[in-house]
Symmetry: C2
Subunit: 276 residues, 2 copies
């Protein structure tokens, strides 16, 4: 096979598939759009069945398989699991059984956290499903067995974000109630282990103090995606205009408000796909 | 047909079917157990896809139809829609298309509220789906066109209850943020239009003050159910020991804690039924 022929058959023009339990994963899409503007993205948000983070690993795995099958129909060249709960319950399974390169949101953030810590004491805040799975702890200790990891499930953070209460006294008090224990652990890095949490970054920083570095998954995930495209020659051509197609399993009343707050731009293409 | 023959063919021994988006409907089950201890109950909680209250009417209708079909397989003699969001989106459809007597949680509470108000000013707190549907307003005005109805969606109440934060300063502040507007409306009755809310009753009463009467659906719904059984000769025999079978679409980590707080007794029979 000549290199020309390989190039002609490159999958670069194909879309990137991204899925999440709802709209939180659009924070990752926002970063893909910024860093890789020529890429076309097909997003699937399982709004009808959100949230995942309070549900069992078996259930999250089932949902994640369905989401993956939907995106594969769109002939995606790579899959981004833009949901920490799905990553924790399904990333291994999906990698084993589906023939598509997969980038998740846990490994990239763990990588950055390990590089950033000086004290070796790292905090993780996430949904109950993600914390229960110890997925971050495993990812961090694989890189550095000496780090100490302190996890805290924060079930009210997602509803707070969905409600748009990103700042203010009540939000501060709720955050403080969950973060109080972590503050005593003398961590110097805190991983925001849920794609909703970047919207609370300012308030979390205020509660944790300026000496704790907050690490979210957005930038490191897109960095890994770009590196994957480098290695496998999967970048879209520079002349290609990156489109964004958003598919969701439901479109509730506050859909546009919430979605655009995550995405940071208008949602022009949105289609509701009813699953069984 | 002799009356004896009718009696032999009575459906009284059959179970009552109850469904909800999750475990909140167990507050209604608790009241059925108390008032009608000989009745066997089959409960279906759609824990995998909860909450319903933030989702679209179309989606809630789809879920509600599936839940109903599941319960009909158990040959239920009556169906209780123990979820206000489902009632608002699906009660009319289910009554029209299924051949089973249906009791919902909206009509009974509306009846009590109309009887209780003196000022004719009634407040309703519920999920976004229920408030958006104006189902209480319609039910109240049907009974008394002169009442003034003030609705307020309270999306954070369900997560608060699921988290077990039923009292305390943060809960008080969150409640106050949502109820502040209603307090200015000079209502004398407030309908708790979500089966989760009875667990917040004490805190809501504190915020609203003692002059506002809180009406929840539990007792009035079971009263309507008992009246239905009177009319149609559907009561279980007194010698029958009432069983409670709980089916759920998922069983997450905090399942037992949350479920038993709603039910007020141990959950002895629980089975997970995976829907597609």
């Amino acid at each position: 096979m000549t290199s020309k022929r390989v190039s002609r058959h490159s999958k670069g023009h194909r879309p990137i598939g991204v899925f999440d339990s709802g709209l939180g994963g659009l924070t990752v899409v926002r970063e893909i759009r910024r860093r890789l503007p020529h890429e076309t993205i097909v997003y699937y948000g399982d709004v009808a069945r959100l949230p995942y983070g309070t549900k069992s690993p078996e259930q999250i795995l089932r949902f994640s398989i369905q989401n993956t099958l939907f995106l594969l129909k769109h002939k995606v060249k790579a899959l981004v699991i833009a949901c920490n709960s799905s990553t924790s319950a399904a990333a291994n399974f999906l990698r084993r059984h589906f023939n598509v390169p997969i980038v998740d949101v846990v490994q990239p953030a763990a990588e950055v956290a390990c590089r950033s810590t000086r004290s070796g004491r790292i905090g993780v805040i996430a949904t109950s499903a993600t914390i229960g799975s110890r997925v971050y702890e495993k990812a961090l200790k694989k890189r550095n067995p000496k780090v100490k990891v302190f996890g805290e499930a924060c079930p009210l953070f997602v509803p707070l974000v969905e409600e748009g209460w990103l700042e203010g006294k009540i939000t501060h008090d709720v955050l403080d109630a969950y973060l109080r224990k972590l503050k005593k652990k003398k961590i110097d890095v805190l991983i925001l282990g849920c794609t909703h949490y970047p919207l609370l970054k300012k308030s979390i920083q205020k509660v944790m103090g300026s000496r704790v570095r907050l690490v979210d998954s957005m930038a490191p995930t897109v960095q890994q995606l770009a590196q994957l495209f480098d290695r496998r020659d999967l970048h879209a051509a520079k002349k290609q205009k990156g489109l964004l197609k958003i598919y969701v399993s439901d479109k509730p009343g506050n859909f546009v408000k919430v979605g655009e707050s995550f995405l940071g731009e208008k949602m022009n293409f949105v289609e509701v796909v009813r699953q069984k």
